[in-house]
Symmetry: C2
Subunit: 327 residues, 2 copies
DNA sequence: CTCGTCCTGGTTAGCGTTACCACAAACCGG
DNA sequence: CCGGTTTGTGGTAACGCTAACCAGGACGAG
């Protein structure tokens, strides 16, 4: 920056101002500075800038998994908003482990990020302490937690699962099975099961443990789930796959077996990946606001940083059932 | 840090050393410092550290798209290596635009990243200048460029497309069509087409422009491509979909039309997404080292940063044909 | 003509670390 | 028991920028 100042015949302070608040510098000087910047090939050092101004334009994001394409839409939404506002994105994955999440968040706080977006809502004690101490704004995305750290943007996994279960009952299915991802470290899965059970209770139906299954993610896993659920004595007439692409795997397995869907068994999914619409038959599912969760989260965070919004806030973005031929 | 120093009864310098090179501090003092760190709840400021040491532990990554799950495997590979080595990852997407890439890279250089990983190999002049001036190490991933900026980790898109085309010819298909993503801003697509044409030339077959098609990404797009290619006068007997999930879209469309694959038309894909193995019929494709590209890129970058490796390097990771029932 | 105000640009003092050197104490073979 | 090395710790000066104040000239009102 000193070189630029010398080349433009002004002080370093004026260069700094010309770049950050051009309006506060006379047009003539501004032009000289801009020319000098180009001539010197000056690239500002934001580390120094942030250190001095105690501000940062980096947002830290923790997702459970970088492989799972379901998070991609949310990440994209976040990235789009941040880019427009001149912010940068740091990403880490927690591998569904609160301890790994804690390490990632610690690293982000060391980098003095301006804010955090967390896709999980289950945190270690130390994590909550660190974040409170640091005083950075946080948006949580996964599911609405009992005690939010700060802001939350999500849809209700519980209500969504409940709605789909009711929908299946209304269509006349009597024995509905539920397949979720492993719920141990996944609050979303637990919420979905809870919603499923809510609906059964409301309908006055008993919940049969033979109709509850947890499976790892993946297409093959969906096929496996179908096999297991249908080989028993009283097989379900509908299966609700509340996670990942399990439903797609099951439909493909039905094709291989030559089973009619929904004739032999109806299949419903939880997420609107476009594969589900293209399968034969197309699969009934929920439209979830994946991208919007990202954009709204980012916007909420930036609003807070700009002082445009103050308190904690919980934003429920809703969902929608897409009825297709599979049920 | 001053607070920690006071609480531990040592100088700030000693605190810094105790945290970064514990071996150079007496065990007794180290213990006192560690206790003080916990007591004070000290979170080091890496901005200040990097500014002072002129080192950084952040790596910048630019991918063409954050939505496309094909890049997810590579990102995951990068992230895994970086995490283990205590580095952080900054991500931006270029939307397949060299100008957007330039902006992203400029922002990364302003953040004084330690190194860059770029998934595209087509850059603006200004980008190349900036990177050279900054002197940061770079790994390119997309396809081997004519003039690498620095290091390259990839497989040969051209050889892979050529190999698959040859494979289809060997299986007896006479009229093979090629569908790629739009090649305008996508060197990978151009390379694949070149490989396809290489193979035809080698086989002494003319290249029929009616058998070359460019389509946007997406399942629906694959279905559309199938429709267009098969409605003409001399339809192909095999279609090689060299991009995205186009092949899956085409197979699903064949199911809808009740066409036998490969009876009516054979279908081959370029990428080993697990959907292709689960379709009916399973689809012949290439196994590409997606994850390994990530891990090797990150490792190569870190090796350079640690001074363990010096010059530019080009690493070709190869590919493999997976023959399945669709051809 | 003088005083206050606005506008532009400069000066100074950090931001929180680490590099580098200085120095005291412990160590060690001859 | 003495020079010289090693080991452990501290002081000082950056790193490159910005916040906060300050100086001085232009300008309008009284």
């Amino acid at each position: 920056m000193r070189d630029v100042a010398r080349a433009a015949g002004v002080s370093a302070m004026t260069v700094s101002r010309a770049l950050r608040e051009p309006a506060r510098v006379s047009p003539e000087v501004r032009a000289r500075v801009e020319a000098a910047v180009r001539a010197v090939g000056y690239v500002p050092n934001r580390l120094a800038g942030s250190l001095s101004s105690r501000r940062s334009d980096v947002v830290g994001l923790v997702v459970p998994s970088l492989e799972n394409s379901l998070f991609a839409a949310t990440v994209k939404g976040i990235s789009d908003v941040l880019r427009r506002e001149g912010f940068q994105l740091m990403i880490a994955d927690s591998l569904y482990s609160p301890e790994a999440e804690e390490a990632a968040i610690r690293a982000f706080l060391e980098q003095r990020v301006a804010g955090l977006i967390l896709h999980d809502t289950l945190h270690t004690e130390a994590t909550a302490r660190m974040i409170r101490r640091a005083g950075v704004p946080v948006v949580e995305n996964g599911t609405v937690p009992a005690e939010p750290l700060d802001m939350v943007v999500s849809y209700s996994n519980r209500e969504a699962a409940k709605a789909m279960t009711r929908h299946l009952a209304r269509l006349g299915y009597r024995r509905v099975a539920l397949v979720t991802l492993p719920s141990a470290a996944n609050a979303r899965s637990r919420d979905r099961r809870a919603g499923f059970l809510d609906a059964l209770a409301e309908l006055g139906r008993p919940s049969d443990p033979r109709l509850l299954l947890e499976m790892p993610p993946g297409l093959a896993s969906g096929a496996e789930a179908l096999a297991r659920l249908t080989e028993g004595a009283e097989p379900p007439d509908a299966i609700f796959f509340a996670g990942d692409v399990l439903a797609a795997g099951a439909v493909l397995e039905c094709q291989r077996r030559g089973w009619a869907v929904p004739g032999k068994v109806a299949i419903a999914a939880f997420d609107n990946v476009d594969l589900l619409a293209q399968l034969n038959p197309p699969v009934t599912t929920l439209r979830l606001p994946r991208g919007e969760i990202g954009t709204r989260s980012a916007r909420m965070l930036l609003d807070r940083l700009a002082g445009r919004q103050s308190g904690p806030a919980v934003l429920d973005l809703g969902f929608e059932i897409i009825q297709r031929a599979s049920t």
